[in-house]
Symmetry: C2
């Protein structure tokens, strides 16, 4: 393959070979395939073709096969994939064979819903620790787990071998909570608060931003509107195609 020119780039690169790095985008899809495989297994299916699995998960079959090829999967040509082994291989690749232990901080509206959700435990992500700062919440039980005070984060996280933290506190509290989780050894964080968390390099943060999701949808609503109007006008308006639309279509701005 193209020998990467490997420009000096500021800092020397780790050179560490991520010898067979799985593209980030593929990892996300692999997780989806895995869930679907579990569903299929429950329904008693034994094999599945890339075509079937692709349709069920809404992706392109070729892309799916390429994704699977990253984990060195072995399907059978002419047949497809045996569900059980493939599932097992995916679980291994995704780090799902040793169940992860999840801690959730902030048992408010959203946190409550997450803590009470059975679906996570079912897929290997048991929430094993809950934290809040509100004295009215500390001590209550959700799904059998007692809510602890945030000051207990270090002790409890160590005891329960927490590897993943979920932050569902208000924005202003998020960074502080994050710092506590990090110093308790948690190196993977899922953040629901609308703030950018500052973390050391070895910690990974994923952010779920629902307001942004809505805004993206709103953008497309607006775009559709503009397009609809534009084409209506185009039909009735002066026949001359002056010049299509300037910039954002005149309507906008």
């Amino acid at each position: 393959m193209t020998a990467p020119p490997d420009p000096a780039q500021g800092p020397a690169e780790g050179a560490t070979a991520t010898r067979r790095a799985i593209p980030e985008a593929s990892v996300a899809r692999l997780a989806v395939y895995l869930r679907m495989l579990r569903e299929l297994a429950e329904q008693g299916a034994e094999t599945v073709s890339s075509e079937e699995l692709a349709v069920a998960t809404g992706v392109n079959p070729a892309k799916l096969r390429k994704d699977l090829s990253y984990i060195g999967s072995y399907g059978t040509r002419g047949v497809g994939y045996e569900i059980a082994p493939l599932r097992h291989q995916l679980e291994e690749a995704l780090g799902q064979n040793h169940a992860q232990s999840v801690a959730l901080v902030g048992v408010g509206n959203l946190g409550h819903a997450l803590a009470g959700y059975g679906g996570f435990a079912g897929t290997g992500f048991p929430v094993t620790a809950l934290f809040d700062i509100d004295p009215d919440l500390v001590g209550i039980r959700i799904n059998g787990i007692v809510v602890e005070h945030v000051r207990e984060i270090p002790r409890v996280c160590a005891e329960r071998k927490v590897t993943i933290g979920i932050i569902a506190t208000p924005g202003p509290a998020a960074q502080g909570v994050c710092d506590q989780l990090v110093s308790a050894g948690v190196r993977s964080i899922l953040n629901f608060a609308p703030v950018v968390l500052q973390v050391p390099d070895e910690v990974e943060v994923r952010k779920v931003d629902l307001a942004v999701e809505l805004q993206i949808l709103a953008f497309h609503v607006a775009r559709r509107h503009l397009e609809a109007n534009a084409s209506t006008e185009a039909n009735t308006g002066a026949g001359v195609n002056g010049h299509t639309v300037n910039g954002t279509g005149g309507l906008l701005q």
Copy 2:
């Protein structure tokens, strides 16, 4: 991880096609910039440089400037951007000047949290309609909004000019609910159920898949483990580029 990007764009006349398409990835970031601008405005700031805004939102300054350039923004060289006008321009570009009306279907654990969340209304996305199929829930009020029966979707969505639908029902019910929303004229849907929704081309679906988010984190946990072990044998792994923050929520799929 983001929603099914879009219609694969078939043969349809792309007449209006990509007029001046803003890259999907940029739209997501623009939404983040907008929120940060609001925050800055509240704090009384008047101008901001790309550098500052970039740090605050966790992106690369050059990328930020390019993002802004898509909406034809005008900053002042040597100074930066005036917050008020930039904010206004962003709101316009993102379709946020006319408040969108949001309907939420499925007032269970998660739906309840979403319905009760004040943050959406504050950013221009008032939830104006709630639906559920459970007779015990129909009729109750959340944040002043009465929960209606799902069979009322067509009427209520039309009356309240709903443009965005949120699905927070169990997986098996999602497709049915989706169909009802679509036939009620809703063309933008945010889906929390772990299923792939089937929709006509003109409807956009974004999927928020929390289980997948956890799985992605678990993958990196596993990878770090492997690397740690590997480098123990090898030399001082030195640098090892950690990956970190993934900027925005490009949520899954």
